[in-house]
């Protein structure tokens, strides 16, 4: 690494927060897309905003590329280090600075864990709505980078819809803030929050974030319906949507995903080809009435078994299997690729049929878990990395699924982002001119292209694909897949 740069870093950080030795760097070499790994030149662990700003300014001055890192749970290689670049670990900026229950807002540092906001808001009857399955470990900064979503984003939206204000340091060192404590967010002038959220760490680093909190629903009604055919579960979703009901969540798992969830958390799911989870939430009288209507629809949808959660414990059990599905698949297969694509909701059935054809063509197992309510598919492609060419085959299958999503009029990512993984698919979704404009925007903000260099845009040097393995944080015992 550039010695002048390291020397300047030492002026900002004490030795214990500036990591440069191989053994210290190892836990940072991948994110949750473990197929890619790269060793950073150094890792710094700032504890306050001023240190982050000084670091970014230094990187800008010496044109050293950097990656901001929350918990490293990105599934697209978003927080993969840049070889010989700097990784800025934000986990220590984990203070919830303020909760204002009267105005229903929280002001937090970027390294705050998603679920910690809800835990802090709970005493006031409030919660933070976006709920990625990784919510017990991922950070709000990472959520912002990808506009992360979760099972409960149908009614109130994803991360972007819950950020009201932020202060950021842009990649060239400029510090700026936008938004407010009003529910209107930016309110007057262009919606800069909407632009920054989802920018995959390419614009700069979020330093402080004001999020809106929601009142905890008075009542949940959670239904689990079992089908002997995946298509039928998909049709049930269409029926619910057509009825005019607006559930808080609609999720589908297929046979393989169910098996995995059973093996890992013993959710007690029925033996089925497909499971549909629908959850209604809101004021009790309204939810009860909606639930009557929902039951009628489910009864007609051909479900061979229906279960209703009668209390919070049963509700938790239903969700446990779904929320743990990604990691559960790890039990069925030494390796897997988590895909993330979107199709128009009305074409969900078609997409599933094609995915099973692809499964046969590639002779690979695919477990399907998806946010059915918004057409967001998460096919999990199982492979054994010890077999020569297996990863490449899995990647090829993943590529065909993405092509399918585009063909059906959807998107190549609903919530995991482009990152490193899907760089080469960006041109399938946007024209050359559209990508060029995005690139110009990036350059206008980051003339040295130091922020998350090599991500999102096609081309550039890709680090070697590793064959298989555990997440480095798993290996280091920091995270586990339970």
């Amino acid at each position: 690494m550039n010695q002048a740069f390291l020397k300047s870093l030492r002026n900002i950080y004490p030795a214990e927060r500036l990591l440069t030795r191989d053994v210290e760097l190892l836990p940072y070499e991948s994110d949750a897309l473990t197929a890619f790994s790269a060793v950073p030149g150094a890792v710094v662990l700032p504890v306050n905003e001023a240190e982050i700003i000084d670091t970014v300014r230094l990187c800008h001055k010496l044109a050293v590329p950097f990656v901001a890192r929350g918990s490293g749970t990105s599934l697209s290689g978003g927080s993969l280090p840049i070889p010989d670049g700097l990784t800025i670990g934000l986990n220590r900026l984990n203070r919830i600075k303020r909760i204002d229950p009267e105005q229903r807002i929280a002001v937090v540092e970027p390294g705050v864990i998603n679920l910690a906001i809800t835990e802090a808001a709970q005493p006031y009857g409030l919660y933070y709505a976006p709920d990625p399955s990784s919510q017990s470990i991922c950070t709000i900064g990472g959520n912002i980078a990808f506009n992360s979503g979760g099972a409960h984003c149908l009614k109130y939206g994803m991360t972007s819809n819950h950020v009201l204000g932020m202060r950021v340091v842009l990649a060239d060192g400029a510090v700026t803030q936008f938004g407010s404590e009003s529910i209107e967010g930016v309110g007057i002038g262009p919606d800069l929050i909407g632009l920054f959220v989802g920018s995959e760490g390419l614009f700069g680093i979020a330093l402080e974030i004001t999020v809106r909190l929601m009142p905890q629903p008075e009542l949940y009604r959670t239904v689990l319906a079992a089908y002997d055919d995946l298509g039928r579960a998909g049709d049930a979703v269409s029926m619910v949507v057509a009825s005019g009901l607006l559930p808080g969540a609609m999720e589908i798992m297929d046979l393989l995903a169910i098996k995995a969830a059973e093996a890992s958390v013993q959710a007690g799911y029925p033996d089925a080809e497909a499971l549909l989870i629908i959850e209604l939430e809101g004021e009790a009288p309204q939810v009860e009435a909606e639930f009557d209507q929902l039951r009628g629809i489910i009864d007609q949808s051909g479900a061979f078994e229906t279960r209703v959660a009668n209390d919070e414990e049963e509700r938790t059990r239903i969700w446990k299997g779904r929320k743990g599905a990604f990691s559960a698949v790890g039990r069925l297969s030494p390796d897997y690729v988590v895909q993330d694509g979107v199709v128009p909701r009305s074409r969900l059935g078609e997409a599933l049929v094609e995915i099973s054809a692809l499964k046969a063509k590639y002779q690979l197992d695919v477990a399907n878990v998806f946010h059915a309510g918004d057409g967001n598919l998460h096919p999990l492609i199982l492979y054994d990395g010890r077999e020569a060419g297996a990863l490449e085959k899995a990647e090829a299958l993943a590529g065909e699924i993405l092509a399918l999503c585009i063909r059906l009029g959807g998107s190549i990512t609903g919530e995991h982002g482009i990152g490193m993984e899907k760089r080469d698919y960006l041109p399938a979704m946007f024209s050359e001119e559209e990508i060029e404009i995005m690139q110009m925007l990036r350059l206008a903000i980051d003339p040295n292209e130091i922020a998350n260099r090599g991500k999102m845009f096609p081309g550039g040097e890709a680090p070697a694909l590793a064959q298989h393995g555990m997440h480095p944080l798993e290996r280091a015992g920091v995270i586990s897949r339970e």
Partner: protein, 354 residues
């Protein structure tokens, strides 16, 4: 002033290329936004109108930017759907104008504003380039989300030609209640109570009346559940807030039009938080005002603007002037932002779009 009405995106691109300065208008419903800039060509987008694609089962709709809100609302209503960001001027605005101004009405309280329902757009930028931003499906995180950036952009970065929104099923019935308080403090305390409670109101506005402050509230849902919900809500407000009076109101056409009583020559939108309301309300002298969206937006009308400008500056707030003769529609605390400036540099480096 030259007015041109391009009939196609191609014509609009050419118009941008040959113009030195250009300003887009939908139907001109917000007169103050169309300030006369020396030599600027007015691009009247009303010919770029019509619904392009509406799939009720998909809950998404794509329209040309000059489409009147009225037309879209009618098409949605036929299928029991609506645009939950509730465009502010349902009878006179276009969707392009609604997005450019970021203008939502009271029902925005329930599910979110324009930014929460826009999915994508086709635009022509200041270089005359036509391109797409965002997507057409309800979930998409590919690329930078310039479609949200367009919300509130006042046509200064790119001219929208096509817009895609997500829509929701509409609810069958409404009931509106007026809950009155003697002071602003009591009324705000009632809002804080509601904020931490289980009631899912469809709308919540705060209105000053002679000697009282009124919380105008609305519940929406199924016919059979509304009586019970109204009863529970009324009981909670009676027990937990120091109200003066509570009464049910008829759902008249103007009850939920936040601008209905704001007749002053100048009309201004301010985004503020409920806790900024007391200081702001104290600083302004305008009698005509209404605080919408749970007291997160102020609508103010007055015969004179200078006092309001001073009040905004004193409170570090920015306003958007929708009606009246102004040099710039943005008033009060300045809006300049380095990130916005970088976008301008890319989309409109020659500063054509005004």
């Amino acid at each position: 002033m030259t007015v041109c009405a391009p009939a196609s995106v191609d014509e609009l691109q050419t118009l941008v290329r040959v113009s030195e300065r250009i300003h887009a208008i939908g139907k001109g419903s917000k007169t103050a936004l169309h300030r006369r800039v020396n030599g600027a060509v007015l691009a009247d987008l009303s010919a770029l109108s019509g619904i392009i694609e509406y799939q009720p089962s998909e809950y998404t709709v794509t329209v040309r930017a000059g489409t009147p809100v009225r037309d879209l609302s009618a098409a949605l209503r036929e299928r029991g759907q609506y645009l939950p960001c509730d465009p502010l001027l349902p009878d006179s605005a276009t969707l392009g104008g609604t997005v450019a101004g970021n203008l939502s009405g009271s029902r925005r309280y329930r599910y979110g504003g324009v930014r929460d329902f826009i999915l994508g757009a086709e635009v022509v930028d200041g270089m005359g380039r036509a391109f797409r931003v965002g997507g057409k499906v309800v979930k998409n995180s590919a690329g930078f989300d310039l479609s949200k950036f367009l919300v509130g952009s006042l046509g200064a970065y790119a001219i929208m030609t096509e817009l895609t929104f997500k829509v929701f099923p509409d609810v069958p019935r409404f009931r509106s209640l007026a809950v009155d308080y003697t002071s602003l403090e009591d009324a705000l305390a009632a809002i804080y109570f509601i904020n931490q409670n289980i009631f899912e109101l469809d709308a919540l506005d705060l209105i000053p009346l002679a000697g009282r402050w009124r919380l105008l509230t609305r519940l929406a849902g199924f016919d059979e559940t509304l009586p019970r919900r109204v009863e529970r809500f009324s009981a909670a407000m009676t027990h937990h807030t120091s109200l003066l009076h509570l009464a049910e109101l008829d759902e008249s056409a103007t009850l939920w039009d936040p601008l209905a009583d704001l007749t002053g020559a100048y009309l201004v939108k301010v985004a503020l938080s409920p806790k900024q309301v007391p200081a702001f309300d104290h600083a302004i002298t305008a009698a005509q005002r209404r605080y919408g969206v749970g007291a997160n937006v102020a609508w103010v009308a007055d015969e004179d603007l200078s006092q309001l400008v001073d009040a905004l500056k004193a409170c570090s707030l920015t306003g958007l002037c929708l009606r009246g003769a102004v040099q710039s529609a943005i008033i009060g605390a300045p809006l300049e932002n380095v990130l916005a400036a970088r976008v301008k540099q890319v989309l409109d480096p020659l500063g054509k779009l005004v």
